[in-house]
């Protein structure tokens, strides 16, 4: 294996899903990096061995969907240890999780669930982020959520919460632009104040994805091309925050690899144009 590259390149990458493993390894398309869901590679076997081959050709970002950083109970140490072993095997260029909870202590909801943004929840999540960072020995990136409801008890916005979390734990922020767009439509979140709230130097990665609409509600299904409004928001983020490694995510009704590469190409060209205008 190559020596670990500790940073993602400031280029566009794609979320790599099982149906494209073989093609990517065969074609080796000119991608900056790839991202996979951590839990699909826990322990050993065929999936992990494919990922290790991918890692020989691209920087890999491990994106977790199961840690439940804001769950009320103690952190799941078995889950955390499995993530640690995966990091040791793959030597990822980034490791990320979502700003969400998934366990009541009685049962787990295998989804990304929002919670009230309060001082108390901030200190709870901070402790757990520190536990994860200590265990895996690296900075964790935390992603903003797409939510379909919010809480009367919240004392701050999600953007402010993330900014505080980054300040208190040193974690990075994974800014999902589609999630912000979904929240702006569903919950009335103001995208510009969200972006303003984020400390630019803590933002380490962008996500871009498509969504769908159900009963007037935008649902973050990762099942379509990035829409124009999200591209606009992305350009705004590039201006305000700067260029960062950018991922095209597509998890359902996944199209040909060429479509993903096309979307990644658009993101790449937005970054390059932003760069041109700065020179």
């Amino acid at each position: 294996m190559q020596p670990a590259s500790h940073f993602l390149p400031v280029r566009a990458g794609i979320g790599l899903r099982a149906q494209h493993y073989e093609q990517v390894l065969e074609m080796l398309p000119p991608l900056g990096w790839v991202e996979v869901h951590s839990e699909n590679f826990f322990e050993g076997g065929a999936a992990l061995h494919t990922l290790i081959k991918v890692r020989e050709n691209y920087p890999v970002s491990l994106h977790g969907v199961g840690m439940g950083l804001a769950s009320p109970g103690p952190i799941d140490h078995q889950h955390l240890s499995a993530l640690k072993r995966l990091c040791d095997r793959v030597q990822p260029a980034a490791v990320s999780e979502h700003l969400c909870w998934n366990s009541t202590g009685e049962f787990v909801v295998n989804d990304l669930l929002p919670f009230p943004y309060t001082r108390a929840s901030l200190s709870h999540v901070s402790v757990r982020v520190e536990q994860v960072q200590e265990k895996i020995g690296r900075r964790l990136l935390i992603e903003n959520l797409s939510s379909y409801l919010s809480f009367a008890r919240s004392e701050m916005s999600e953007g402010e919460f993330l900014a505080e979390l980054a300040k208190s734990t040193g974690c990075g922020i994974l800014f999902d632009v589609n999630n912000l767009y979904v929240n702006s439509k569903n919950l009335g979140v103001d995208p510009e104040s969200f972006i303003r709230a984020l400390p630019s130097n803590a933002v380490m990665e962008y996500h871009l994805a498509g969504h769908s609409v159900r009963d007037g509600c935008l649902v973050d299904t990762h099942s379509d091309r990035v829409c124009n409004e999200v591209w606009d928001l992305y350009r705004l983020a590039l201006q305000q925050v700067g260029n960062r490694p950018t991922l095209i995510e597509w998890d359902n009704d996944t199209p040909d690899l060429s479509v993903l590469l096309e979307e990644a190409g658009i993101a790449q060209s937005h970054m390059e144009h932003r760069h041109d205008s700065m020179v």
Partner: protein, 258 residues
Amino acid sequence: MTAWFEDVLEFGNAIRNNDAMSGGIGPNYPIGTALEIYRNNYRGNLQGALGLAYPVIRQLVGDEFFRMMAIMHIESRPSKSGNLHDYGAELSKFLASFPNAQELPYLPEIAKLEWACHMAYFAADIEPIDIVLLASIAPENQDRLRFLLNPACRIVRSSFPIVDIWQAHQPGMPEDFLIDLDSGPQIALVNRRNDVVRVEALSLPESAWLEEIESGATLWDATAVVLENHPDFDLESHLVNWIEQEILVDFDHEAKEN
């Protein structure tokens, strides 16, 4: 309890138990719409996990039955892990008492076999046995060797021909097959080698020997137990085969040092 925890628990119960939720704020659509999205995601994700882990059960009962069974399973057995691949370990137990499945009495045992395969797929990687080191063990110490089974290895006993049923439902197998359900019991050995999960049938003495080894018996003790009931058991040929097949993957260090 911290106040925000209460919101989280209320939200969780609204998703899993269809309870009402007072702490959530309805956005530009009714809060019920939001909760329905979460409920659908919750059930859909667990149904998807069951479908991935149990492809043979799914073929045996059909999509519609499988969907109904999955919904009832989710109702009675919640997820306990943030890793979706951990969901469904108890499907065999569930099926054993599932009234609608009593006509297919082999289902729980097929489910047990499929879960063993699912576990094998994700089991930790191992190095094959060190043959040179093994060969260097002095003959007088060989009887005291304690072998270790591959962590992907599982033995599943059934009163039905589960290996034949499982094989017939693998991708690429012909669709017209005939399995005599009364053809007697089968013992399945699940293992993974070169990243491929394999299922094969074991004879009674083979399974007895491997189970002795699994429970920590020495080579001598395991073989003595099996020979008592099966005087024809040919250890040597099995040993070579099981090492080659990476079913035996290590032996204890005490023996290595001696």
